[in-house]
Amino acid sequence: MSSRGLSEQAFLVLTVLVEHPQHGYAVLRMVDELSDGRVQLRVGTLYGVLDRLANDGLVELDREEVHQGRLRRYYRATDKGVRVLGAETHRLAANVNAATAVLGARGVQPKALGGLA
């Protein structure tokens, strides 16, 4: 894997696949749900992310099924994928903790931006 960490899209796809093996469309839906609609992957983007994760040895093919006459390929996270997701989560959590402490010192509670107005 590149030493530059996982992109947000790769992080979310890997998170979905660590939970259970999933097929392409299920991954799209679950990434949408996990990110509260912030990250909406397109099909081309999804397969680009899956290729990168597979090349880094983080995901692999689990099985193939035919559903209503259409091919479904299920992918799963490898052991290395689980370890990398753990390390990435730890790194992000450390960043979040540091930022929360700094904001707390200024009396600001972290919250989503509700718009500029």
């Binding site: 590149s2 530059r4 992109s7 097929h23 392409g24 469309y25 799209l28 397109r42 099909v43 081309g44 983007t45 999804l46 397969y47 680009g48 899956l50 290729d51 990168r52 597979a54 090349n55 995901v59 692999e60 093919l61 559903h67 259409r70 091919l71 479904r72 390929r73 992918y75």
Partner: protein, 340 residues
């Protein structure tokens, strides 16, 4: 098969054949499942975001990513062209800065300057050196931004700004700076470099080895600086395309090292050297055409021999490398390596 499915399959034809053979059925199923849920019953065209994302995937699988051995080789080629171009441009820039500094320190006359001249001359040189340094340090995004900034002064003549001839020379615009053709051919190597920088160094691309490329940059800068000193007293040598000679010399050295089995042959290196050297040919042909138009008195036999020789050497190097690369590239498998 519905009309929509046919259109999705048509869209997927932008992907490499090997990739499509493996993924087409699965991707069509995913496209149709998404469409069934979000826009049920509609039998129209693929949505624009689907077209963009598939085009992005096609670009990545064809040029950048490690999907197939052939696309791996193409991604490697793009990165090598970017590195060769940046190192050559930076070595020239360092040589120019060294020369400018020596002139400024030793000249007894007061030097005139303008902010435009500083921006297009030393400013541009520093930016291009910063670009290669950032790339070697792994700061790809800043390296791209910096390279793009370095290319902007080369476009100044296209905007019609009035800048002195000496200033234009320092940014690689030699003959007839007002002509758009001249601007294009003189800046072509840098534009190709920037294009390959953007294509080759995406997020997932491997980074260059810092030690190897810093040493190459330092050595190239010193050789070009010495050459620059040599040409100061011999203006006729200014007709020589330094990047053209540098890349031809690199190609010759590469052939010699491969023949002596000191380095292993790589198709990517052969293609990268061929493309980089070929990019300097339009400027060399322009220089040749320029010399042909000189009056006989001015066009000495030495100047013509110099220009003729450099074009012949570069063209031969490009043809030899291209022929070798074409033979070996065909043998590179195009099928995609399966994920698992």
């Amino acid at each position: 098969m519905t009309r929509l499915e046919r259109r999705y399959r048509l869209l997927l034809r932008t992907l490499p054949r090997g990739y499509r053979q493996e993924r087409e059925e699965e991707m069509v199923a995913t496209f149709l499942a998404y469409r069934d849920e979000h826009r049920p019953g509609e039998d129209g065209w693929p949505a624009w975001p689907e077209v963009y994302s598939t085009a992005g995937l096609a670009l990545r699988t064809r040029l950048i990513e490690a999907g197939t051995p052939r696309s791996q080789a193409l991604g490697h080629v793009a990165r090598l062209i970017a590195l060769l171009g940046l190192v050559t441009q930076s070595a020239l820039a360092i040589g120019g800065l060294q020369r400018g500094l020596v002139t400024a320190l030793t000249s007894s006359q007061s030097l005139s300057w303008s902010w435009q001249a500083l921006l297009v001359g030393p400013g541009r040189s520093l930016v291009i050196v910063a670009s290669v340094a950032l790339l070697i340090m792994g700061r790809c995004r800043w390296a791209k931004f910096s390279a793009l900034a370095a290319a902007l002064p080369g476009l100044v003549p296209l905007t019609g700004c009035a800048i002195g001839q000496s200033t234009l020379l320092s940014c690689g615009v030699s003959a007839n700076p007002t002509a758009a053709g001249s601007v294009i051919i003189n800046n072509l190597p840098l534009w190709i470099t920037i294009g390959c920088l953007y294509l080759g160094f995406r997020r997932e691309a491997p980074l260059p080895k810092p030690g190897q490329w810093l040493l190459t940059l330092f050595a190239a800068a010193q050789v070009l600086y010495l050459f620059d000193l040599f040409t100061v007293a011999r203006p006729i040598w200014e007709l020589v395309s330094i990047p053209g000679w540098a890349l031809s010399a690199a190609a010759t050295a590469y052939f010699a090292l491969v023949a002596a089995r000191k380095v292993e042959y790589s198709t990517a290196w052969a293609v990268a050297l061929a493309v980089s050297a070929a990019a300097t040919l339009p400027a060399q042909y322009a220089s040749w055409h320029h010399v042909l138009q000189w009056p006989t008195m001015l066009a000495s036999s030495l100047s013509r021999t110099l220009v003729d020789t450099q074009i012949a050497v570069t063209t031969l190097a490009v043809l030899a490398l291209a022929a070798l690369a074409a033979c070996t590239f065909r043998r590179t498998p195009s099928a995609r390596i399966h994920n698992s």
